[in-house]
Symmetry: C2
Subunit: 519 residues, 2 copies
Amino acid sequence: MTDASPPRRRRAGGRAANTARASAHAIDQQPWRLPRNNDRPTEPLPPEGVEAIHRGAMRILSEIGIEFLNNEAVSHLREAGCKTEGQTVFFDPEFVEEMIARAPETFTVTPRNLDRKLVMGGDYMVFGNVSSPPNAWDLERGKRPGDMESYVEFIKLTQYFNCIHFAGGYPVEPIDVHASVRHLDCLFEKLTLTDKVAHAYSLGAERVDDVMEMVRIAGGLTDAEFEATPRMYTNINSVSPLKHDFPMLDGAMRLARRGQPVVVTPFTLAGAMAPVTLSGAVSLSIAEGLAAIALLQWIAPGCPVAIGTFTSNVDMKSGAPAFGTPEYMRATQMTGQMARYYKLPMRASGVCAANVPDGQAMWETSNSLWAGVQAGANMIYHAAGWLEGGLIASPEKFVMDCEVLQQIQRYFEPEMLGTSEDDLAFDAIREVGPGGHYFGCQHTQDRYQDAFYGPFMSDWRNFEAWRLDGAVWTAERAHKTYKAILDEFEPPPMDIAIRDELADFVARRKSEGGAPTDF
Amino acid sequence: MTDASPPRRRRAGGRAANTARASAHAIDQQPWRLPRNNDRPTEPLPPEGVEAIHRGAMRILSEIGIEFLNNEAVSHLREAGCKTEGQTVFFDPEFVEEMIARAPETFTVTPRNLDRKLVMGGDYMVFGNVSSPPNAWDLERGKRPGDMESYVEFIKLTQYFNCIHFAGGYPVEPIDVHASVRHLDCLFEKLTLTDKVAHAYSLGAERVDDVMEMVRIAGGLTDAEFEATPRMYTNINSVSPLKHDFPMLDGAMRLARRGQPVVVTPFTLAGAMAPVTLSGAVSLSIAEGLAAIALLQWIAPGCPVAIGTFTSNVDMKSGAPAFGTPEYMRATQMTGQMARYYKLPMRASGVCAANVPDGQAMWETSNSLWAGVQAGANMIYHAAGWLEGGLIASPEKFVMDCEVLQQIQRYFEPEMLGTSEDDLAFDAIREVGPGGHYFGCQHTQDRYQDAFYGPFMSDWRNFEAWRLDGAVWTAERAHKTYKAILDEFEPPPMDIAIRDELADFVARRKSEGGAPTDF
């Protein structure tokens, strides 16, 4: 076997792994911070294009209407003055605009560790783990249905990486735990193994209320304290086209009433659940999103909300969903323009269609993440670990994505852009002179430690050094890193009394049967 | 072996390869076109930052000076009124600005196939092959010194892909051909196997004159026709810091006098050959670039030139050069601001430090290519095939990069951004209604064939279909595609008399000993 061959497992261990184990930490990562994106957004639409999509969305809302498969929601909207026919609600544009204007442009979310508080909106951009794949895949075990062991691994990665700012949905669905109590076990692990902002699935009243209660307990909060400011969030998806289903609306209303944020993210695949044209798909997405936001602002004026985008396209030959495509990028940027038009915080995603963490995975993911940056998105879902259009969570991909996320964080640092006399380095240029070298000069010595981004996953050695060390491809290096991280993982501190209270709550709710599974 | 393992060669053939062979073409690629980038550039510097870098560059030029290791160049500049000390030339800012103002903002380059004419400048963005690696690497043969067999393979890929607009430097250095006649053999292959804009290395009078003569012959041009408009180009690099060497200046002056474009690209690695600060490295790069451009505009007023950027950073722990980093991205964007300030066409690059075409290779390359887009760069060197900081050319990477380049081309298409009544698809949204599907509706049927980007390298199938077909990772798929392309390659047509004249010229110049190799 030569270096020409792709990596094999048996070449993986050895020197690099030993080095990693010998050092104090599996990786040398950037500190926690909330990245701020000061780039002027990329705006593919002219102002009249933004107006056209707005008018398109308003026509959908007022003339076609949105189905709310939730009678409580329908009756609220009827009380608000909306025309209804069965479960279809027609929205007057003035009503929608009045409701949207109630939403805050920016809000905070405060988890049990106050140092992990997030800002949502403005120029902030925060990243979360992959959420909701039914399957896990790694280089050692291959593809398999999600289980609690894998779930816990991903939760540990979510906590470990400082560039992951919130713990989104289940990074993999642990189907070895019964659905009636799964949320109890999952949230117990999430709230004890992480101290970051947590998410609740809007999948039935009991689950939503249980999760809010567990977040309250984990934070050591009274009910009043919990409701005083955002402590967690949910994300709801419409059933595109033109529908919101019962449990999502129910959960969203429960959170909104208690002051907890709701992200509304239609999943509009152009050519399948949405028009084949991007502006058609975006206007449908905006209409569905604003419909839910209008409902929430009616029942809980000023409640924190964000508008999400999940507009991509299908492969028109096979119907397969595609992600990180040029169309995905433009739709994300267009939605960014609409979010600013409505003055709403925006969610986007890090996505790919690739099945394994290879070249395709990284160009698709890079496309989607840079589109998020260019769109001025505030919250990036699935930013680490996503494969196969969201059907697979991979720890190697998680680690590789975190390298890209760290680079985006570094990219945002204004320190890089200084043009002071010192930055311009005129004296150093004179001192070094023609043909000289800058390694040794004082200007370099004063700055070299923090001058440049330091990777933990990119291998910058030349080919010969890389080959001598086993010729390990990126995915294989990521596998070793993920294992090393799990080896050294330590959960964040938690008061033992709070942990006991959480455990008691879980035990009691399990003894009561958990949540019904027939919704 | 399970699907969890990285791909092995022996799993590569089979169904997919047979399918590829059975179809008319190895891949279904986008047609030739000149991409136009209408995105507003990302501008990390405020206007006063641009002014500061300009003033920094002018101070370097006027107070420190640039060494021109070419007496002819020094005497031209002395005649122009510049102060000189030995080979160091000091430039008055007014002189520099006057000279820059002579350069055209936009120019064309016309190769032997008039349909392959390029526009350089404005909103155009064209891509070229990897240039100048000493080594080749592929999955089958591993790493090896460049030879003519590999050179010809890359030249064929350069011609084959419509998203590669110009044939840059040697995609790999064929060291099995003696340096005295290498340029003759290389240009013969390039000019017969491609019909795209070709490049001449500025490495000695004989080489430069030979290549100009061969381009003239290949185009069936008289001397006057050759000189009437740009037909080819050269790229020169400064010897940073603060030096231009003899052969580069000599070649640049030879081309400029005959109206052929010169791209001036300092290679300023921050922390090594340039200050550790980005604005310091960029101001040094700009100073070196403008110095050469001022010379060329003095001796050949209005000659076509472009300013290049190759500002990146080193790993401060090892000194290894890094590429596609956040610093690289910002330096590229900053240089874009400076190029617009000086109204000069701009060159950037597609680069990575990775040794193999894996995940790291693609996130680094994606970073650099998107930085080129954000910078408004007009010409992207090394856009396909680059590995190991430019020391390796890889056909798999070439093919993978072309998928990314095609996506960038698609990303630029204004058709995606329409917001007409038809685009907004209100009637289709009403027709499909809630919970329906858009596959079958007329609005989709009318548009589906061209609605979305169709990949040739991305595999959008689900995991099971992908596994059944051999679980082939991207690099392995790219290997098969590259082989299939070579199998079906046909050179572009060339008049037999012109081909004979080219062959005769090569034979004659070889009999004369080619070019001296002691420069």
